[in-house]
């Protein structure tokens, strides 16, 4: 039984065990720190499971706006670390593509600054991305259905079960930022005048 946590858009938590046992979603795109504990607690309660029954924790690695993304990842690492459980990292577009089934899709989500996070799939196989690009560049994906992707913990959890059964490696639990921090090395510029 897996506990899945996602803060790539709103804040969500889910319990999966062969199927989706519970899913709790807070849509607020800014209240991650406030809602993370409440979402996890409710997801466990709704699924009527104790946290001690969980065998692994799934966290969404993004790509997503960073500040919120880290809250869910930190909570997942905290729970798994405390309980001595494995942590599974999922790139969120893999989870969304899995939920869509067969077909050719280019998935995108808001990366702020008039850019998109994208990833393209051909029958579940990642063919491009994840990367950041301007919206007009989506045109190059001829023959791909454009899907505005929104992930949640339920999709993450179901994909993780599928991936683990297939032997896909989910051991990378680092955040997918896809951009360097917005800063350039100090030029030692003058501070007066």
């Amino acid at each position: 039984m897996l506990l899945a946590i996602d803060t790539s858009a709103g804040t969500s938590a889910a319990v999966v065990a062969g199927e989706l046992k519970s899913l709790v979603v807070y849509d607020d795109p800014f209240g991650h720190a406030e809602n993370i504990g409440l979402a996890i607690r409710s997801a466990l309660a709704d699924a009527e499971v104790k946290i001690s029954e969980i065998s692994g924790v799934v966290i969404g690695r993004g790509p997503a706006p960073y500040t919120g993304l880290r809250v869910g990842m930190a909570a997942g690492l905290g729970i798994a670390g405390a309980l001595g459980l494995p942590t599974y990292g999922v790139m969120i577009f893999d989870a969304v593509a899995h939920s869509l089934g067969t077909g050719r899709f280019v998935l995108s989500s808001d990366a702020k600054r008039r850019e998109l996070f994208i990833a393209a799939y051909d029958n579940q196989v990642l063919v491009e991305g994840p990367s950041v690009m301007a919206p007009d560049q989506l045109d190059k994906f001829a023959g791909f259905e454009q899907v505005s992707a929104s992930c949640d913990a339920g999709k993450l959890g179901l994909y993780a079960e599928f991936a683990l059964a297939k032997g896909i490696d989910l051991s990378d639990v680092s955040a997918l930022y896809l951009r360097s921090p917005d800063v350039s090395p100090s030029a030692g510029k003058k501070v007066s005048g």
């Binding site: 209240g31 991650h32 720190a33 406030e34 809602n35 993370i36 504990g37 409440l38 996890i40 607690r41 946290i51 960073y66 500040t67 919120g68 880290r70 809250v71 869910g72 990842m73 930190a74 909570a75 997942g76 690492l77 905290g78 729970i79 670390g81 405390a82 309980l83 680092s174 955040a175 930022y177 921090p181 917005d182 800063v183 350039s184 090395p185 100090s186 030692g188 003058k190 501070v191 007066s192 005048g193």
Partner: protein, 493 residues
Amino acid sequence: MHLRKLSIDDLSAVMRLERESFPSDAWHEDSMRAELQSPNCHYVGLFDNELVGYAGLSTIPGTFSSDVQTIAVAPAQRGKGFGKLLFQELLAKAKSLGSEQALLEVRIDNEPAIELYKAFGFERIDVRKRYYQPDDVDALIMRLRIEQPLVLGIESTCDETGVGIVRGNRLLANALHSSMDEHAKYGGVVPEVAARAHLEAIKPTLEKALAEAGVAMRDIDAIAVANGPGLAGALMVGIGAAKGLALAYDKPIYAVNHLVGHVGADVLERGYVQLPTIALLVSGGHTSLIHVKDLLGDAELLGETIDDAAGEAFDKVARVLGLPYPGGPQIDTLAATGNPAAIRFPRGLSLPKDMEKHRYDFSFSGLKTAVARYVEKAEIEGTDINPSDVAASFREAVVDVLLTKAIDACERLGVPRLLLGGGVVANARLREEAAKRCEARGIELRIPRFSLCTDNGAMIAALGAQLVMAGHQPSSLGFGAESTLEVTTVQTL
């Protein structure tokens, strides 16, 4: 019927009851006066119009042990549970002071009292023969073991990921990961770089703290986390992790104030924070002067910087002098061979006209600019400067203004104590000058060890433990990051 703390004003009432209760071996009035006046003693009285009972506790700081000094109930008021009420109050106090045991002695023939103590969990550990004179009665020595809470604290307000573990007021672990090196190439803390580093460091730092303390996560009684003030993105990583930990074993969580954590760090050094005190917290993010009357309830922000923090000024001036980040240690080293009186740099907000609105506020922006202009002017004119003199004179200006205002606060508010905290306390000149000025004015100076002065998880754990020990309710699970949290909010509920 009401219970309150006794003071020296209650001496005559206490002595009346003392003589009535212990006709053969009452304490001398001088002894009782000393008890009521001692900062290490806590006496409580039960009143029904007049005093009907009292009890006293003595706790020598740093011993983690309390002694029940006395307990008395007026003869006509016995058998009503008043003794039990007073005793409960003493034990709650012993617990809140961080004591890990309470000791008492009792006449071996005082069976009702022995029964009362046994009911509270006291065990007989020794007998002192013929202790009570002139009656020639033995004393039974009894001990209660007091379980203090094991608290894990998380700090992520700026560029240090800290995880500390305390049991009551006892420091067990203080693990730290700093991302300072990653900020060096940018010349200052970059919030996004700091937040990324927190996420990578949180799990290893947590594991390090648990190993250092020799405890398992399941043994932890409560989680504390600094939820402000600080960098929002950085705070959120600590909060996320703390909530995860709390949920894993269904433990209470306390969202605490980072600045009050700095003030509370001294409990880990000597078992308590002597109050009231003026606290001067100086770091790369803060320059705050605080009047603390009660660690868990009553703190007043007297003033703070209106522009740069003092640590930030060190970093910026270091850049002007072509020195790497962080600037504090660099300037300190350079200044060691310089003349602090070589250049008279300005002391911000120190003129008579500033005193009305900004008596306890700081400003370092003008000082930084003055140093930059001095250096640039020399460059333009093609003259040489003496970097050691510039560094020493700059450092002197910062130290002078910090201490002048802090000591002014001590004197004007009649608080003869100054507590220093924050990373700038590493500055040798600040410590040396603080010691000199405080000594000259009869002000007690407290500077916790450096690892408890800089941002750290142990001080957050210690403040959380103080809240637990004093019986405060945990925070709800829905609290968030408060980047501008006021110092008056010790805990976000």
